[in-house]
Subunit: 304 residues, 2 copies
């Protein structure tokens, strides 16, 4: 059984030792730095403080609705200084995976997207062709002609070889029907991430994993997930920054994504915050599957 | 291990003995009598033939988008004579369950509906109050005001004590957000049925079970399902017709819903048809969990 996590809040000596142990902090965003559009007090200051102590900071988010550029705008609008190269979002991770790892040979390498513009932006950057996504042609009611054309294939694109499902605030029955038929015809099934919920407005809304799960239910197939805790994302981050995993700490609010991501990535440490999904009771439970190495009530507690 | 099913097609003696064994045939519709709007050849004749031999026929369908009256219109338009009392659809089954079995005390007995007009019609018939469903207020994009009002509860109806999820061709992120928050506040979770796919146009489209599964994924709760194979539906059918289960045969195209429904209901027989979802390979597989007692390639084979 894993040792209980060390509680750092209110313990300046322990905090100091903790910060000294690491060169790089991989930071989840939603639920750690903010919730929805609400920036947690002290976020800007704690990031400045970590940087002032020479630490590298990387923003690692499963939110697939934003491209890295969108994310940087969000950080900037909140007064958080950042560099686009410090941002790893699951839309970017998915685009990289398709173009550099999956490498489906043309012409059957087009992507059918369930998701928002952030995914489209990152696919375009990698030169990947796609349909679906934000196209209004899929944001409407299904018609008898759709049933017919999907069933006989005349409304399907023969070059679609990949279905990529992320968070889609405009999900429709029509999109599910198309995605299901591409998968039934053999398309590879990818998911930006599998979070069941999305933290927003101090509560939860449907997450990307709850948008893609109908396709899992229909096909019996599990997608390859590109967000945390998938180690495909960790490998990309390491490839980019060339850091020593023992000197890296993953910080997050979800045990099953963030903390698992750090543990399975064999990082030197994992830090849980209680401003998002995780509750102390989860790791205190007998036989808890994922236990962080450290925890604080809120990230700004690291200021000491 | 269950014995392999008896193959009746092309064997007039076996067919005759089979029909003689039963007084009542519970018939699944989609995939058995028709697929989508395509009536299988010989359907009208085989139903006439069974009636001519004094057999009672009941149409038992998990399709939750239609009320019994809608279903009768469909049967009539296809030239199939029927009586509304012979029709059991999962929308009806759900309404009956809410009004006669669940009996949530007022005022917290309002239903939030994910589904189409058929559900609404049956709820109205039973005098059950509901919101959601086909209301255009939920068939639109989610807005920042929705996030806020759902999160703080000001846009939620305090009298909703039940979430009923069926097949919804107009599913939206907004509906999922509302349903999730009602469930998180303690509403009872019902599903008209849990079929993962819907047979139509000789292929499959997303079924009710694939529309409700995001809510299961978000809440970790399993709904009480009111369609096949739930025995709540069998009990209603028996209560209405007062038949001898040993003289009843369930006919269907899905092993995990129709055939399981008949087996768990301890009916005298189950007959699988191969015009829908089930393939022979499913029950021929080693350790197949559900094996019908009989099978035919198509229902009209019973004409002998």
């Amino acid at each position: 059984m894993a040792s209980p996590p060390k509680h750092l809040s209110g313990d300046p000596t322990a905090i100091n030792e903790f910060i000294d142990k690491f060169d790089i902090f991989l930071l989840d965003c939603d639920g750690v730095l903010w919730s929805g559009d609400h920036l947690f007090p002290g976020t800007v200051e704690i990031l400045e403080y970590l940087r002032s102590r020479g630490k590298k900071v990387v923003f690692v988010t499963n939110n697939s609705t934003k491209s890295r550029a969108d994310y940087q705008k969000k950080l900037t609008s909140m007064g958080i200084p950042s560099n686009i190269e410090e941002i790893f979002a699951s839309a970017y991770s998915s685009a990289i995976y398709i173009s550099r790892i999956l490498k489906v040979p043309p012409p059957k390498n087009k992507v059918f997207v369930i998701g928002e513009i952030g995914i489209e932006t990152e696919l375009k950057t990698e030169g990947i062709e796609f349909i679906g996504g934000t196209d209004p042609a899929y944001r409407r009611d299904i018609t008898p002609e759709d049933y017919k054309g999907i069933a006989d294939g005349s409304l399907l694109d023969d070059n679609v070889g990949i279905v990529l499902a992320g968070l889609d605030f405009h999900i429709t029955y029509l999109k599910y029907a198309h995605a299901y038929h591409y998968l039934a015809r053999g398309a590879k099934f990818l998911a930006t991430n599998t979070d069941s919920t999305l933290p927003a407005n101090h509560t939860f809304f449907p997450g990307a994993g709850s948008i893609s799960i109908p396709l899992i239910n229909m096909t019996g197939q599990q997608p390859t997930a590109l967000g945390k805790p998938s180690q495909a994302m960790m490998d990309s981050i390491e490839g980019k920054f060339q850091f020593d995993r023992k000197k890296a700490c993953m910080v997050g609010d979800r045990l099953d994504t963030d903390i698992r991501f750090g543990i399975e990535g064999k990082l030197g440490g994992t830090l849980a915050v209680l401003t998002g999904v995780a509750k102390k009771e989860e790791w205190e439970a007998e036989g808890a599957p994922v236990v962080p190495a450290y925890y604080v009530e809120k990230l700004s507690d690291l200021k000491g």
